[in-house]
Homo-oligomer: 249 residues x 2
């Protein structure tokens, strides 16, 4: 009954909030660093009401059940959002990167916990202001809706992965997903993927354990499909072969 109990050690090493990071909480009120937002039109107005904050790696941004006061948008870095079962089992429902939003809720509370994986720069804006802006700017509301719909599609793909794929297929799918998503940051056209998160994070994203993820990586490496480089870098040697193991037969 008590199968695959989570290790619970994720809560131990995560800082309680990003507020007690005094040196880094650099609020650049004006138009500080200019970052490209290709998929959210009208972002300039959104930028105007947002503070830009920096959070250290492994910092909790907000917790499931807390009053949802602020929204965040990732400018740089990676954030994990997850849900917990009472006994500590964890399911990471997404890794967020530049451009992704979090903390949006219809109800009063956050529905998942958000923590930084790497050091992040984030836009933070009060929910009330954000909702007023949505009301005033139909174009912004439309692009937000498109974003939500895209997230829903990704969630359905992930359900297929969680419910019906084997361990090796899950890891292969994960690598290809990251390869296509972070095209900009990598050197070559998606041949190398950076994995900033731990094996434990990957496991909790794919519905596996750390050991099984590690074994799957080894299997893909032995099969000549990938190579594990230093610094959490993975080189995709045989992209078609990897895509083949993604779906079985």
């Amino acid at each position: 009954m008590a199968a695959h109990l989570a290790t619970l050690d994720h809560a131990a090493t995560v800082r309680p909030a990003f507020a007690p990071v005094p040196g880094h909480r650099s609020v650049r009120s004006g138009g500080g660093t200019v970052v490209a937002f290709p998929d959210l039109r009208g972002a300039d107005t959104l930028e105007a009401i947002a503070d830009t904050v920096v959070a250290e790696r492994e910092t909790m941004l907000f917790s499931e059940g807390d009053a949802a006061g602020d929204l965040y948008r990732v400018i740089d870095g990676m954030v994990r959002i997850y849900k917990l079962l009472p006994d500590g089992r964890r399911q990471i429902v997404g890794f967020l990167q530049a451009g992704d939003m979090m903390g949006l809720t219809l109800g009063p509370c956050y529905l998942y916990t958000a923590e930084t994986v790497t050091t992040c720069s984030l836009q933070r804006l009060p929910r009330s202001r954000f909702e007023a802006l949505m009301e005033a700017q139909p174009a912004l509301a439309r692009s937000l809706h498109a974003r939500t719909a895209t997230e829903l599609v990704a969630a359905q793909d992930h359900m297929l992965l969680l419910g019906r794929k084997t361990a090796v297929e899950k890891v292969a799918s994960f690598l290809l997903l990251l390869a296509t998503r972070s095209r900009s940051a990598s050197s070559l056209g998606g041949r190398r993927v950076r994995l900033p998160m731990s094996r434990n994070d990957i496991a909790d994203y794919l519905g596996l354990t750390t050991e099984t993820v590690s074994r799957a990586f080894t299997k893909l490496k032995t099969g000549g499909l990938i190579r594990l480089l230093e610094g959490g870098l993975v080189e995709i040697v045989d992209r078609d072969g990897l895509a083949g193991t993604t779906e079985g037969a």
Copy 2:
């Protein structure tokens, strides 16, 4: 590698489309049967451009990859939407009931297959008209966005279930989900749940097999938490006990 291969027999018994149901395709152009739509304001205008059609049980409405021409809203009955892997493994990503919409896509194609579970009455409307209506009626667009966001939340809950819950926990969660969702159709306040879908459908929704689902039902029955009545009816004897097994310890 080729673990839990789906039986593929779901495709065999499903009718190809709901068009060849001549007697039932009653298109009531005007304001035919008046149904309550509590959660979609502005539904009257949406009703005006929609045909009301009836589809027999086990009928395919549209298929993943088809050109997304029409949207549907369920008026009555139950629809399953699912995604397939190339080798036939199936993941049902949702059971739709009265008020739920399907076929919405940003891209050109449907992203999942939709089939009726029971005989359904549906509202069908061309995508182009729907998008024009969204453009013209901000209130409708807002409610659609709220609907999409709610679906995303449900999807994240389901990811937690698929990735981290045991078989018995999955079935218990499934029963409680149906009990809270279909409050209106049941006689008592959620003490009895109707399961119109087969064990195989439930299995493909929960990431299990038919046999494991059946065994989980038996275990819940033996534990005195539920009773299996005839006609696919399940009586929830011990709701708190069922909720307890939902989350483990």
